[in-house]
Subunit: 251 residues, 2 copies
DNA sequence: AGTGCAGCGTACCGTACGGTACGGTTCCGA
DNA sequence: TCGGAACCGTACCGTACGGTACGCTGCACT
Protein backbone atom coordinates (compact mmCIF):
# COMPACT_ATOMS: atom_id res chain seq x y z
CA UNK A 1 0.00 0.00 0.00
CA UNK A 2 2.45 2.62 1.16
CA UNK A 3 5.23 2.49 -1.32
CA UNK A 4 8.80 2.08 -0.26
CA UNK A 5 10.49 5.18 1.01
CA UNK A 6 13.97 4.59 -0.22
CA UNK A 7 14.89 8.00 -1.55
CA UNK A 8 14.70 10.90 0.88
CA UNK A 9 11.30 12.04 -0.31
CA UNK A 10 10.10 15.61 0.12
CA UNK A 11 13.67 16.76 0.35
CA UNK A 12 13.12 19.53 -2.14
CA UNK A 13 11.31 21.86 0.22
CA UNK A 14 13.68 22.14 3.15
CA UNK A 15 17.15 23.65 2.91
CA UNK A 16 20.18 21.35 2.60
CA UNK A 17 20.29 20.90 6.40
CA UNK A 18 24.07 20.82 6.56
CA UNK A 19 25.04 17.36 5.43
CA UNK A 20 27.89 16.92 7.96
CA UNK A 21 27.45 14.24 10.60
CA UNK A 22 26.90 16.81 13.35
CA UNK A 23 28.08 14.60 16.16
CA UNK A 24 27.72 15.87 19.70
CA UNK A 25 30.25 15.80 22.49
CA UNK A 26 28.86 15.02 25.92
CA UNK A 27 26.43 17.70 26.94
CA UNK A 28 26.44 20.17 24.10
CA UNK A 29 22.77 20.99 24.19
CA UNK A 30 21.45 24.14 22.65
CA UNK A 31 18.59 25.42 24.73
CA UNK A 32 16.49 27.36 22.25
CA UNK A 33 14.01 28.46 24.88
CA UNK A 34 11.53 25.84 25.90
CA UNK A 35 12.57 22.46 24.62
CA UNK A 36 16.21 21.61 24.28
CA UNK A 37 16.96 19.82 21.04
CA UNK A 38 20.36 19.43 19.47
CA UNK A 39 20.84 20.55 15.87
CA UNK A 40 20.97 16.92 14.81
CA UNK A 41 17.64 16.28 16.48
CA UNK A 42 16.19 19.36 14.83
CA UNK A 43 17.27 18.03 11.46
CA UNK A 44 15.67 14.69 12.24
CA UNK A 45 12.46 16.43 13.26
CA UNK A 46 12.54 18.38 10.02
CA UNK A 47 12.81 15.17 8.04
CA UNK A 48 9.96 13.69 10.02
CA UNK A 49 7.82 16.73 9.28
CA UNK A 50 8.55 16.38 5.59
CA UNK A 51 7.60 12.74 5.73
CA UNK A 52 4.36 13.57 7.52
CA UNK A 53 3.45 16.30 5.06
CA UNK A 54 4.10 14.05 2.14
CA UNK A 55 2.49 10.82 3.21
CA UNK A 56 0.35 11.51 6.24
CA UNK A 57 0.44 9.60 9.47
CA UNK A 58 0.70 6.24 7.76
CA UNK A 59 4.06 7.24 6.31
CA UNK A 60 5.41 8.36 9.66
CA UNK A 61 6.90 5.08 10.79
CA UNK A 62 9.98 4.91 12.93
CA UNK A 63 11.83 3.02 10.25
CA UNK A 64 10.75 5.59 7.68
CA UNK A 65 11.90 8.51 9.78
CA UNK A 66 15.21 6.82 10.47
CA UNK A 67 15.73 6.14 6.78
CA UNK A 68 14.71 9.63 5.69
CA UNK A 69 16.86 11.31 8.33
CA UNK A 70 19.81 8.94 7.98
CA UNK A 71 19.76 8.07 11.61
CA UNK A 72 19.17 4.86 13.50
CA UNK A 73 15.96 3.80 15.12
CA UNK A 74 17.87 3.35 18.33
CA UNK A 75 18.78 7.03 18.31
CA UNK A 76 15.18 7.96 17.71
CA UNK A 77 14.05 6.03 20.75
CA UNK A 78 16.93 7.37 22.78
CA UNK A 79 16.11 10.98 21.93
CA UNK A 80 12.35 10.96 21.93
CA UNK A 81 11.64 7.89 24.01
CA UNK A 82 8.67 6.76 22.06
CA UNK A 83 6.73 7.26 18.88
CA UNK A 84 4.34 9.54 20.71
CA UNK A 85 7.33 11.42 22.07
CA UNK A 86 8.52 11.93 18.52
CA UNK A 87 5.12 13.26 17.48
CA UNK A 88 5.03 15.63 20.43
CA UNK A 89 8.55 16.80 19.65
CA UNK A 90 7.49 17.50 16.07
CA UNK A 91 4.69 19.72 17.29
CA UNK A 92 6.80 21.71 19.73
CA UNK A 93 9.58 21.99 17.18
CA UNK A 94 7.32 23.32 14.47
CA UNK A 95 5.59 25.76 16.80
CA UNK A 96 8.94 27.05 17.99
CA UNK A 97 9.76 27.88 14.37
CA UNK A 98 6.53 29.75 13.81
CA UNK A 99 6.64 31.92 16.90
CA UNK A 100 9.01 34.88 16.71
CA UNK A 101 7.77 38.35 15.74
CA UNK A 102 6.07 39.64 18.87
CA UNK A 103 5.64 43.16 17.47
CA UNK A 104 5.44 45.55 20.38
CA UNK A 105 3.05 48.49 20.56
CA UNK A 106 3.39 50.67 17.51
CA UNK A 107 1.35 53.61 16.27
CA UNK A 108 -2.05 54.45 17.67
CA UNK A 109 -5.32 55.25 15.97
CA UNK A 110 -7.94 53.39 14.09
CA UNK A 111 -5.97 52.91 10.89
CA UNK A 112 -3.02 51.51 12.80
CA UNK A 113 -5.21 49.14 14.77
CA UNK A 114 -6.87 48.01 11.60
CA UNK A 115 -3.64 47.38 9.80
CA UNK A 116 -2.20 45.45 12.73
CA UNK A 117 -5.31 43.33 12.99
CA UNK A 118 -5.15 42.67 9.28
CA UNK A 119 -1.52 41.70 9.54
CA UNK A 120 -2.20 39.15 12.24
CA UNK A 121 -5.21 37.86 10.32
CA UNK A 122 -3.17 37.38 7.17
CA UNK A 123 -0.41 35.56 9.00
CA UNK A 124 -3.00 33.43 10.75
CA UNK A 125 -4.61 32.46 7.48
CA UNK A 126 -1.29 31.67 5.90
CA UNK A 127 -0.18 29.54 8.83
CA UNK A 128 -3.45 27.62 8.99
CA UNK A 129 -3.33 26.89 5.28
CA UNK A 130 0.31 25.83 5.39
CA UNK A 131 1.24 22.25 4.61
CA UNK A 132 3.01 21.54 7.86
CA UNK A 133 0.28 23.06 10.00
CA UNK A 134 -2.37 21.08 8.18
CA UNK A 135 -0.41 17.86 8.51
CA UNK A 136 0.15 18.35 12.23
CA UNK A 137 -3.46 19.25 12.85
CA UNK A 138 -4.57 16.20 10.92
CA UNK A 139 -2.22 14.09 12.98
CA UNK A 140 -3.44 15.45 16.32
CA UNK A 141 -7.09 15.29 15.31
CA UNK A 142 -6.70 11.76 14.04
CA UNK A 143 -5.16 10.71 17.33
CA UNK A 144 -7.80 12.41 19.48
CA UNK A 145 -10.44 10.28 21.16
CA UNK A 146 -13.42 10.95 23.38
CA UNK A 147 -11.73 12.09 26.54
CA UNK A 148 -8.02 11.91 25.90
CA UNK A 149 -6.22 13.95 23.27
CA UNK A 150 -2.67 14.65 24.37
CA UNK A 151 -1.44 15.81 21.00
CA UNK A 152 -4.52 17.96 20.59
CA UNK A 153 -3.83 19.62 23.90
CA UNK A 154 -0.25 20.26 22.84
CA UNK A 155 -1.37 21.77 19.56
CA UNK A 156 -3.97 23.94 21.23
CA UNK A 157 -1.42 25.14 23.72
CA UNK A 158 1.40 25.79 21.27
CA UNK A 159 -0.56 26.78 18.21
CA UNK A 160 -3.71 28.61 19.19
CA UNK A 161 -2.87 30.14 22.52
CA UNK A 162 -0.19 32.49 21.15
CA UNK A 163 -2.52 33.83 18.50
CA UNK A 164 -5.31 34.26 21.00
CA UNK A 165 -3.11 36.22 23.38
CA UNK A 166 -1.79 38.41 20.60
CA UNK A 167 -5.19 39.16 19.16
CA UNK A 168 -6.76 39.63 22.57
CA UNK A 169 -4.09 42.08 23.63
CA UNK A 170 -4.63 44.03 20.43
CA UNK A 171 -8.38 44.07 20.92
CA UNK A 172 -8.06 45.30 24.47
CA UNK A 173 -5.66 48.03 23.48
CA UNK A 174 -8.18 49.10 20.85
CA UNK A 175 -10.86 49.18 23.49
CA UNK A 176 -8.66 51.24 25.77
CA UNK A 177 -8.25 53.72 22.93
CA UNK A 178 -12.00 53.92 22.54
CA UNK A 179 -11.89 52.39 19.06
CA UNK A 180 -13.61 49.15 19.94
CA UNK A 181 -16.55 48.27 22.10
CA UNK A 182 -17.06 44.83 23.54
CA UNK A 183 -17.73 43.33 26.93
CA UNK A 184 -15.97 39.96 26.94
CA UNK A 185 -12.55 39.85 25.36
CA UNK A 186 -12.66 36.11 24.77
CA UNK A 187 -16.05 36.39 23.10
CA UNK A 188 -14.86 39.22 20.90
CA UNK A 189 -11.76 37.25 19.98
CA UNK A 190 -13.81 34.25 19.01
CA UNK A 191 -16.10 36.33 16.87
CA UNK A 192 -13.10 37.81 15.14
CA UNK A 193 -11.59 34.38 14.66
CA UNK A 194 -14.81 33.10 13.15
CA UNK A 195 -15.00 36.03 10.76
CA UNK A 196 -11.42 35.52 9.66
CA UNK A 197 -11.23 31.76 9.33
CA UNK A 198 -14.88 30.75 8.84
CA UNK A 199 -14.98 27.10 7.79
CA UNK A 200 -11.78 27.36 5.79
CA UNK A 201 -9.72 25.41 8.31
CA UNK A 202 -11.98 22.39 8.55
CA UNK A 203 -12.46 22.38 4.81
CA UNK A 204 -8.73 22.31 4.30
CA UNK A 205 -8.32 19.61 6.92
CA UNK A 206 -10.88 17.53 5.05
CA UNK A 207 -8.82 17.81 1.90
CA UNK A 208 -10.63 20.63 0.15
CA UNK A 209 -8.57 23.15 -1.76
CA UNK A 210 -9.32 26.79 -1.17
CA UNK A 211 -10.72 28.04 -4.43
CA UNK A 212 -8.97 31.34 -4.74
CA UNK A 213 -9.46 32.71 -1.26
CA UNK A 214 -6.74 35.29 -1.12
CA UNK A 215 -5.59 35.76 2.49
CA UNK A 216 -5.22 39.52 2.20
CA UNK A 217 -8.72 40.09 0.82
CA UNK A 218 -10.20 37.67 3.32
CA UNK A 219 -8.45 39.37 6.22
CA UNK A 220 -9.49 42.83 5.09
CA UNK A 221 -13.09 41.84 4.78
CA UNK A 222 -13.10 40.08 8.14
CA UNK A 223 -11.61 43.06 9.94
CA UNK A 224 -14.11 45.28 8.19
CA UNK A 225 -16.98 43.15 9.42
CA UNK A 226 -15.55 43.05 12.90
CA UNK A 227 -15.36 46.83 12.99
CA UNK A 228 -18.96 47.01 11.83
CA UNK A 229 -19.88 44.83 14.79
CA UNK A 230 -17.63 46.24 17.47
CA UNK A 231 -16.27 49.50 16.10
CA UNK A 232 -16.89 52.84 17.78
CA UNK A 233 -15.99 55.59 15.35
CA UNK A 234 -18.67 57.11 13.22
CA UNK A 235 -17.47 55.87 9.85
CA UNK A 236 -17.83 52.30 11.04
CA UNK A 237 -21.16 52.87 12.72
CA UNK A 238 -21.79 53.09 16.45
CA UNK A 239 -22.02 49.84 18.31
CA UNK A 240 -25.70 49.76 19.03
CA UNK A 241 -25.60 46.92 21.51
CA UNK A 242 -22.95 44.87 23.16
CA UNK A 243 -22.37 41.42 21.84
CA UNK A 244 -20.32 39.85 24.59
CA UNK A 245 -22.40 36.89 25.67
CA UNK A 246 -20.68 36.52 28.97
CA UNK A 247 -23.75 37.63 30.89
CA UNK A 248 -26.36 35.68 29.02
CA UNK A 249 -24.69 32.33 29.22
CA UNK A 250 -27.00 29.55 30.27
CA UNK A 251 -24.61 26.60 30.58
CA UNK B 1 -2.90 -1.14 24.52
CA UNK B 2 -6.47 -1.32 23.30
CA UNK B 3 -8.21 -3.48 25.83
CA UNK B 4 -10.21 -6.49 24.75
CA UNK B 5 -13.64 -5.72 23.41
CA UNK B 6 -15.53 -8.73 24.60
CA UNK B 7 -18.74 -7.13 25.78
CA UNK B 8 -20.63 -5.03 23.25
CA UNK B 9 -19.14 -1.78 24.45
CA UNK B 10 -20.98 1.48 23.98
CA UNK B 11 -24.20 -0.42 23.70
CA UNK B 12 -25.92 1.83 26.19
CA UNK B 13 -26.47 4.65 23.76
CA UNK B 14 -28.11 2.96 20.82
CA UNK B 15 -31.49 1.18 21.05
CA UNK B 16 -31.63 -2.63 21.44
CA UNK B 17 -31.32 -3.04 17.65
CA UNK B 18 -33.58 -6.09 17.52
CA UNK B 19 -31.50 -8.99 18.65
CA UNK B 20 -32.87 -11.53 16.15
CA UNK B 21 -30.51 -12.91 13.53
CA UNK B 22 -32.13 -10.97 10.71
CA UNK B 23 -31.13 -13.29 7.94
CA UNK B 24 -31.85 -12.22 4.40
CA UNK B 25 -33.35 -14.23 1.61
CA UNK B 26 -31.94 -13.64 -1.84
CA UNK B 27 -32.48 -10.05 -2.84
CA UNK B 28 -34.43 -8.50 -0.02
CA UNK B 29 -32.75 -5.14 -0.10
CA UNK B 30 -34.38 -2.12 1.40
CA UNK B 31 -33.51 0.88 -0.70
CA UNK B 32 -33.71 3.77 1.74
CA UNK B 33 -32.96 6.35 -0.92
CA UNK B 34 -29.34 6.57 -1.91
CA UNK B 35 -27.39 3.63 -0.62
CA UNK B 36 -29.03 0.26 -0.27
CA UNK B 37 -28.15 -1.44 2.99
CA UNK B 38 -30.04 -4.27 4.58
CA UNK B 39 -31.22 -3.90 8.19
CA UNK B 40 -28.52 -6.30 9.28
CA UNK B 41 -25.90 -4.18 7.59
CA UNK B 42 -27.33 -1.09 9.22
CA UNK B 43 -27.02 -2.75 12.59
CA UNK B 44 -23.42 -3.65 11.83
CA UNK B 45 -22.70 -0.09 10.79
CA UNK B 46 -24.27 1.13 14.00
CA UNK B 47 -21.98 -1.12 16.01
CA UNK B 48 -19.02 0.11 14.03
CA UNK B 49 -19.97 3.70 14.75
CA UNK B 50 -20.20 2.95 18.46
CA UNK B 51 -16.79 1.34 18.33
CA UNK B 52 -15.35 4.35 16.51
CA UNK B 53 -16.86 6.82 18.95
CA UNK B 54 -15.57 4.91 21.91
CA UNK B 55 -12.05 4.06 20.84
CA UNK B 56 -11.18 6.13 17.82
CA UNK B 57 -9.76 4.82 14.58
CA UNK B 58 -7.38 2.49 16.34
CA UNK B 59 -10.32 0.57 17.77
CA UNK B 60 -12.00 0.21 14.42
CA UNK B 61 -10.42 -3.05 13.32
CA UNK B 62 -12.25 -5.54 11.19
CA UNK B 63 -12.01 -8.15 13.91
CA UNK B 64 -13.29 -5.66 16.46
CA UNK B 65 -16.26 -4.69 14.33
CA UNK B 66 -17.07 -8.32 13.68
CA UNK B 67 -16.91 -9.12 17.39
CA UNK B 68 -18.96 -6.09 18.44
CA UNK B 69 -21.62 -6.70 15.80
CA UNK B 70 -21.67 -10.48 16.18
CA UNK B 71 -20.94 -11.01 12.56
CA UNK B 72 -18.11 -12.63 10.70
CA UNK B 73 -15.25 -10.88 9.06
CA UNK B 74 -16.10 -12.67 5.86
CA UNK B 75 -19.50 -10.99 5.82
CA UNK B 76 -17.91 -7.64 6.43
CA UNK B 77 -15.70 -8.03 3.39
CA UNK B 78 -18.57 -9.40 1.38
CA UNK B 79 -20.82 -6.45 2.18
CA UNK B 80 -18.39 -3.57 2.17
CA UNK B 81 -15.59 -5.01 0.10
CA UNK B 82 -12.83 -3.43 2.04
CA UNK B 83 -11.97 -1.61 5.23
CA UNK B 84 -12.19 1.68 3.36
CA UNK B 85 -15.54 0.57 2.00
CA UNK B 86 -16.70 0.03 5.55
CA UNK B 87 -15.55 3.50 6.55
CA UNK B 88 -17.31 5.06 3.59
CA UNK B 89 -20.46 3.10 4.37
CA UNK B 90 -20.34 4.38 7.94
CA UNK B 91 -20.25 7.96 6.70
CA UNK B 92 -23.11 7.60 4.25
CA UNK B 93 -25.13 5.64 6.79
CA UNK B 94 -24.73 8.24 9.50
CA UNK B 95 -25.47 11.13 7.15
CA UNK B 96 -28.62 9.37 5.97
CA UNK B 97 -29.80 9.29 9.57
CA UNK B 98 -29.14 12.98 10.13
CA UNK B 99 -30.91 14.25 7.03
CA UNK B 100 -34.73 14.34 7.18
CA UNK B 101 -36.62 17.52 8.11
CA UNK B 102 -36.52 19.64 5.01
CA UNK B 103 -38.95 22.23 6.39
CA UNK B 104 -40.68 23.90 3.48
CA UNK B 105 -41.41 27.61 3.29
CA UNK B 106 -43.32 28.72 6.36
CA UNK B 107 -44.28 32.16 7.59
CA UNK B 108 -42.76 35.30 6.18
CA UNK B 109 -41.31 38.31 7.88
CA UNK B 110 -38.18 39.16 9.76
CA UNK B 111 -39.07 37.32 12.95
CA UNK B 112 -39.88 34.15 11.05
CA UNK B 113 -36.63 34.33 9.09
CA UNK B 114 -34.70 34.92 12.26
CA UNK B 115 -36.28 32.01 14.07
CA UNK B 116 -35.71 29.66 11.16
CA UNK B 117 -32.10 30.73 10.88
CA UNK B 118 -31.68 30.18 14.59
CA UNK B 119 -33.24 26.77 14.33
CA UNK B 120 -30.83 25.66 11.64
CA UNK B 121 -27.94 27.18 13.56
CA UNK B 122 -28.87 25.30 16.72
CA UNK B 123 -29.21 22.02 14.91
CA UNK B 124 -25.92 22.65 13.14
CA UNK B 125 -24.15 23.29 16.43
CA UNK B 126 -25.66 20.22 18.02
CA UNK B 127 -24.72 18.01 15.09
CA UNK B 128 -21.17 19.31 14.94
CA UNK B 129 -20.69 18.75 18.65
CA UNK B 130 -22.17 15.27 18.57
CA UNK B 131 -20.02 12.29 19.37
CA UNK B 132 -20.61 10.48 16.10
CA UNK B 133 -20.01 13.53 13.96
CA UNK B 134 -16.80 14.31 15.80
CA UNK B 135 -15.58 10.75 15.48
CA UNK B 136 -16.32 10.60 11.76
CA UNK B 137 -14.72 13.96 11.13
CA UNK B 138 -11.65 12.87 13.08
CA UNK B 139 -11.52 9.72 11.01
CA UNK B 140 -11.78 11.49 7.67
CA UNK B 141 -9.33 14.20 8.68
CA UNK B 142 -6.85 11.67 9.98
CA UNK B 143 -7.01 9.79 6.69
CA UNK B 144 -6.65 12.89 4.53
CA UNK B 145 -3.32 13.55 2.86
CA UNK B 146 -1.92 16.24 0.60
CA UNK B 147 -3.89 15.66 -2.54
CA UNK B 148 -6.12 12.70 -1.90
CA UNK B 149 -8.84 12.64 0.72
CA UNK B 150 -11.63 10.36 -0.37
CA UNK B 151 -13.32 10.15 3.00
CA UNK B 152 -13.01 13.89 3.40
CA UNK B 153 -14.73 14.40 0.07
CA UNK B 154 -17.51 12.07 1.13
CA UNK B 155 -17.96 13.90 4.41
CA UNK B 156 -17.97 17.29 2.72
CA UNK B 157 -20.52 16.08 0.22
CA UNK B 158 -22.82 14.34 2.67
CA UNK B 159 -22.34 16.49 5.73
CA UNK B 160 -21.75 20.07 4.74
CA UNK B 161 -23.46 20.39 1.40
CA UNK B 162 -26.98 19.84 2.76
CA UNK B 163 -26.53 22.49 5.40
CA UNK B 164 -25.09 24.91 2.90
CA UNK B 165 -27.99 24.46 0.53
CA UNK B 166 -30.54 24.83 3.29
CA UNK B 167 -28.93 27.95 4.73
CA UNK B 168 -28.31 29.44 1.31
CA UNK B 169 -31.91 28.95 0.26
CA UNK B 170 -33.05 30.61 3.44
CA UNK B 171 -30.71 33.52 2.95
CA UNK B 172 -31.85 34.06 -0.60
CA UNK B 173 -35.49 33.94 0.38
CA UNK B 174 -34.72 36.56 3.00
CA UNK B 175 -33.05 38.68 0.37
CA UNK B 176 -36.06 38.30 -1.91
CA UNK B 177 -38.24 39.57 0.92
CA UNK B 178 -36.00 42.58 1.31
CA UNK B 179 -34.89 41.53 4.78
CA UNK B 180 -31.30 40.78 3.92
CA UNK B 181 -28.75 42.50 1.76
CA UNK B 182 -25.77 40.70 0.32
CA UNK B 183 -24.19 40.25 -3.05
CA UNK B 184 -22.69 36.77 -3.07
CA UNK B 185 -24.79 34.05 -1.49
CA UNK B 186 -21.84 31.76 -0.88
CA UNK B 187 -19.90 34.56 0.78
CA UNK B 188 -22.83 35.44 2.99
CA UNK B 189 -23.29 31.81 3.91
CA UNK B 190 -19.67 31.49 4.88
CA UNK B 191 -19.81 34.58 7.02
CA UNK B 192 -22.87 33.22 8.76
CA UNK B 193 -21.19 29.87 9.24
CA UNK B 194 -18.15 31.53 10.75
CA UNK B 195 -20.29 33.55 13.11
CA UNK B 196 -22.18 30.47 14.24
CA UNK B 197 -19.41 27.94 14.57
CA UNK B 198 -16.32 30.10 15.05
CA UNK B 199 -13.43 27.88 16.14
CA UNK B 200 -15.65 25.56 18.13
CA UNK B 201 -15.46 22.74 15.62
CA UNK B 202 -11.70 22.55 15.40
CA UNK B 203 -11.40 22.93 19.13
CA UNK B 204 -13.72 20.01 19.66
CA UNK B 205 -11.90 17.98 17.03
CA UNK B 206 -8.67 18.62 18.91
CA UNK B 207 -10.20 17.23 22.07
CA UNK B 208 -11.23 20.43 23.80
CA UNK B 209 -14.48 20.44 25.72
CA UNK B 210 -16.82 23.33 25.11
CA UNK B 211 -16.93 25.20 28.38
CA UNK B 212 -20.62 25.88 28.66
CA UNK B 213 -21.31 27.15 25.19
CA UNK B 214 -25.05 26.74 25.01
CA UNK B 215 -26.09 26.16 21.39
CA UNK B 216 -29.24 28.26 21.68
CA UNK B 217 -27.47 31.31 23.06
CA UNK B 218 -24.64 30.90 20.56
CA UNK B 219 -27.06 30.64 17.66
CA UNK B 220 -29.07 33.66 18.79
CA UNK B 221 -25.98 35.79 19.10
CA UNK B 222 -24.63 34.67 15.75
CA UNK B 223 -27.88 35.41 13.94
CA UNK B 224 -28.01 38.75 15.68
CA UNK B 225 -24.53 39.60 14.47
CA UNK B 226 -25.36 38.43 10.98
CA UNK B 227 -28.40 40.68 10.88
CA UNK B 228 -26.24 43.57 12.03
CA UNK B 229 -23.97 42.88 9.09
CA UNK B 230 -26.48 42.06 6.38
CA UNK B 231 -29.90 43.08 7.75
CA UNK B 232 -32.08 45.69 6.10
CA UNK B 233 -34.77 46.77 8.52
CA UNK B 234 -34.25 49.76 10.69
CA UNK B 235 -34.04 48.02 14.07
CA UNK B 236 -31.04 46.08 12.88
CA UNK B 237 -29.43 49.04 11.19
CA UNK B 238 -29.22 49.62 7.45
CA UNK B 239 -26.56 47.72 5.62
CA UNK B 240 -24.14 50.52 4.93
CA UNK B 241 -22.01 48.67 2.44
CA UNK B 242 -22.08 45.27 0.79
CA UNK B 243 -19.79 42.65 2.16
CA UNK B 244 -19.90 40.03 -0.52
CA UNK B 245 -16.35 39.77 -1.71
CA UNK B 246 -17.28 38.18 -5.00
CA UNK B 247 -16.20 41.22 -6.94
CA UNK B 248 -12.96 41.95 -5.16
CA UNK B 249 -11.52 38.51 -5.35
CA UNK B 250 -7.94 38.46 -6.51
CA UNK B 251 -7.18 34.74 -6.82
C1' DA C 1 48.32 6.88 20.43
C1' DG C 2 44.69 5.32 23.10
C1' DT C 3 40.19 5.19 25.27
C1' DG C 4 35.36 6.18 25.38
C1' DC C 5 31.15 7.33 23.68
C1' DA C 6 27.63 9.00 20.44
C1' DG C 7 25.55 7.46 16.71
C1' DC C 8 24.66 4.70 12.26
C1' DG C 9 23.00 0.53 9.98
C1' DT C 10 20.96 -3.72 10.32
C1' DA C 11 19.10 -7.69 12.18
C1' DC C 12 15.75 -9.42 15.20
C1' DC C 13 11.36 -10.21 17.93
C1' DG C 14 6.55 -10.03 19.18
C1' DT C 15 2.31 -8.43 18.12
C1' DA C 16 -1.51 -6.85 15.66
C1' DC C 17 -3.95 -6.06 11.72
C1' DG C 18 -6.11 -6.75 6.86
C1' DG C 19 -7.74 -10.19 4.19
C1' DT C 20 -9.01 -15.25 3.02
C1' DA C 21 -10.64 -19.97 3.76
C1' DC C 22 -13.34 -23.46 5.96
C1' DG C 23 -16.67 -26.01 8.68
C1' DG C 24 -21.05 -25.74 11.00
C1' DT C 25 -25.76 -23.77 11.58
C1' DT C 26 -30.06 -21.74 10.55
C1' DC C 27 -33.47 -20.34 7.64
C1' DC C 28 -35.96 -20.04 2.97
C1' DG C 29 -38.00 -21.95 -0.96
C1' DA C 30 -39.20 -26.07 -3.74
C1' DT D 1 -38.25 -33.35 3.23
C1' DC D 2 -34.44 -31.80 0.79
C1' DG D 3 -31.18 -28.71 -1.37
C1' DG D 4 -29.10 -24.25 -1.17
C1' DA D 5 -27.81 -19.95 0.34
C1' DA D 6 -26.66 -16.62 3.73
C1' DC D 7 -24.05 -16.22 7.59
C1' DC D 8 -21.45 -16.98 11.99
C1' DG D 9 -17.24 -18.27 14.38
C1' DT D 10 -12.69 -19.35 14.06
C1' DA D 11 -8.47 -20.56 12.24
C1' DC D 12 -4.96 -19.16 9.17
C1' DC D 13 -1.51 -16.33 6.42
C1' DG D 14 1.42 -12.57 5.12
C1' DT D 15 2.91 -8.26 6.17
C1' DA D 16 4.15 -4.29 8.58
C1' DC D 17 5.14 -1.82 12.46
C1' DG D 18 6.93 -0.57 17.31
C1' DG D 19 10.59 -1.46 20.00
C1' DT D 20 15.28 -3.73 21.28
C1' DA D 21 19.94 -5.52 20.65
C1' DC D 22 24.36 -5.74 18.49
C1' DG D 23 28.39 -4.68 15.78
C1' DC D 24 30.86 -1.14 13.66
C1' DT D 25 32.66 3.70 12.60
C1' DG D 26 34.50 7.95 13.72
C1' DC D 27 35.05 12.07 16.44
C1' DA D 28 36.60 14.01 21.04
C1' DC D 29 39.21 14.40 24.68
C1' DT D 30 43.45 13.00 27.26
Amino acid sequence: MARRIATPAAGATQPPVDERPLRLASTEIIATGNEAYTPRQNAVLESALGLLVEGGERALTTAGVARAANCSKESLYKWFGDRDGLLAAMITFQSSKVKAEAAGPGANGRAALRSRLEGIAVSLLKVLAGDVSLALNRLAIGQARRGEADLGLLLREHGRKPIETRLSALLESGRREGLLDFADTREAYRTLYGLIVRDMHVRLLLGDSLDGEAPAARAAQAIDEFFRLHGREEDTGPARERTGAGNERTG
